[in-house]
């Protein structure tokens, strides 16, 4: 993975839980431009553990002077977001990967409807800058529980087509209304908690929307779980995976090379063939087909875990 060392230039609390970080090149060089919806993987040397977390870029895609991300502190998570909040300060140097986009706008669309829940707003912050620059019709719906949680509210432009839905204040988002009567050629993008993503996709399907017009990104962090062990078919080695470690991280710690791109169960790069399995694979990805899941013939090491007697993978 092509990563470069960048310097933290700004750290700003957007809400009690969400902090914005700005990275710049230490010598002030321009960074590669990206497209709205792209993410970067930030490497965090957290003691003995090297964490790699993916974050959507929230800054202007055509501004190479820096990359900005917004990180939500997740107390129940594995520690990446806690590390960013507690350990990272202005002036620090961190390795940041090149931008990769798995949630790009479909520029064939005639209209773009963006639906965000909570921290799922992040990819849209870059996308709306791109849409405004291209003068494309769009509407953005940003759903949050309370005004205090609306971390991105002041990063959003003051435009009539930007809608803030605060459920605590009674302005809950009505998906049926948003998705009814949209003109031909409209595409829908949803990012947020799984319940919201499923809600949008189900409502759209009921209303007759074809699949190709629907785009979703569920922000997936590798879930913690029980420790387990895997056997590597090629070398016969046994690798232990800790409760707060992903299988991918354990493989990397053991210096087993595995290709990856998103580290969130979406891109398919790290798909690994399972040669034998007695037990149950806890699939957490959005990549494998239902058949592959059911037959336990493959695993996505970035997010999925295992419970049982033996798991042997083709690595």
């Amino acid at each position: 993975m092509s990563a470069q060392v960048l310097q933290v230039a700004e750290v700003e609390a957007l809400s009690p839980l969400v902090t914005r970080f700005r990275f710049v090149h230490p010598e002030g060089e321009a960074l590669p431009l990206f497209s709205g919806g792209a993410h970067v993987v930030v490497e965090m040397p957290d003691g003995a553990v090297l964490r790699r977390n993916a974050y959507s870029l929230i800054s202007d895609p055509l501004d190479g002077s820096g990359y900005e991300i917004a990180v939500r502190r997740d107390e129940a998570g594995r520690g990446g977001s806690r590390f960013m909040h507690a350990e990272v300060a202005v002036g620090d140097l961190l390795r940041v990967g090149a931008p990769v986009n798995l949630f790009a706008l479909d520029l064939r669309a005639r209209r773009h409807v963006l639906i965000a829940g909570g921290i799922g707003i992040t990819p849209f912050l870059a996308q709306i800058r791109q849409l405004i620059r291209l003068q494309l019709p769009f509407e953005l719906h940003y759903a949050v529980r309370s005004r205090a949680e609306a971390a991105a509210a002041r990063l959003l432009p003051d435009l009539a087509q930007v809608h803030l839905h605060i459920s605590e204040e009674g302005s809950r988002m009505d998906l049926g209304e948003i998705l009814s009567g949209q003109p031909l050629g409209t595409h829908v993008y949803v990012c947020g908690p799984e319940g919201l993503v499923d809600g949008v996709l189900d409502t759209a399907r009921c209303l007759g929307w074809p699949k190709g017009a629907l785009h979703s990104e569920a922000f997936l962090a590798p879930p913690p779980g029980e420790a387990f062990e895997v056997t590597l078919a090629r070398s016969g080695r046994k690798i232990a995976v800790g409760p707060h470690q992903s299988l991918l991280e354990a493989l990397e710690a053991a210096e087993v090379e595995v290709p990856w791109l998103c580290r969130g169960g979406a891109c398919g790069q790290c798909e690994t063939h399972v040669t034998s399995c007695s037990g149950h694979i806890e699939h957490h990805d959005h990549w494998l087909s239902d058949e592959a899941r059911a037959s336990q013939s493959a695993i996505m090491p970035c997010v999925s875990r295992f419970r049982g007697a033996d798991l042997t993978i083709d690595r």
Partner: protein, 202 residues
């Protein structure tokens, strides 16, 4: 008349997988000639597909019986037209008034499906909201790549362009934008040497 099947061809040759009901969602249905049978089969499989359907039918000349059957399927709106050209304004208005969630069902000759799909795509309808079933002749709607004229109902290969008179080779290369196959001069390198026309193979 059953569904028309083709022998395998190049990858870009369109395929018409057949009509499958998407349920009682808004729909535009355009059929021509034998394509009516596809709509009748569709309604037999799921009557609710007609609840919000705007059906436009172009019967074969002199056939009033098929249209009468089609008109009784319970479509929300039913209209008969003598030709595609005659119903084009109605069809365009239906597309202009449509919203996301509207499905398009096309049935009939390849020429009709190609033109109507191109019109719908130009109106913004996503390609995956278009269902089609080929019923009827295997003749092709051809564009001459030299003069750009369209020749309808081409039944032989090579054929004579109805506009510029060139002898054209019938290619499987299809233009989704035009809704037509591409015809290329067959004697460009050997002027005047044109093979005997043969009936178009499936």
């Amino acid at each position: 008349m059953p569904r028309t099947e083709f022998s395998p061809a190049i990858f870009s040759r369109p395929v018409y997988p057949g009509l499958i009901s998407q349920g009682a969602v808004p729909a535009i249905m355009l059929a021509e000639g034998a394509g009516a049978e596809a709509l009748i089969d569709l309604a037999l499989a799921d009557a609710s597909v007609m609840d919000r359907a705007h059906v436009i039918y172009i019967p074969a000349r002199g056939d009033s019986a098929t249209g009468a059957r089609l008109g009784q399927l319970g479509a929300k709106m039913y209209h008969e037209a003598p030709s595609y050209a005659a119903c084009l304004e109605r069809y365009r208005k239906a597309l202009a008034d449509a919203h996301m969630g509207t499905w398009l069902y096309l049935a009939g000759s390849e020429g009709l499906i190609g033109q109507a799909a191109a019109e719908a795509t130009a109106a913004g309808l996503p390609a995956d909201a278009i269902l089609s079933e080929h019923r009827g002749p295997v003749t092709r709607r051809m564009q001459c790549v030299h003069c750009k004229g369209i020749t309808e109902e081409v039944a032989t290969d090579p054929f004579t362009c109805a506009h510029c008179g060139r002898s054209l080779f019938v290619r499987d290369h299809f233009s989704r934008r035009l809704g037509a196959f591409q015809g290329v001069a067959i004697d460009a390198e050997t002027p005047g040497i044109v093979p005997e026309p043969r009936s178009i193979q499936r």
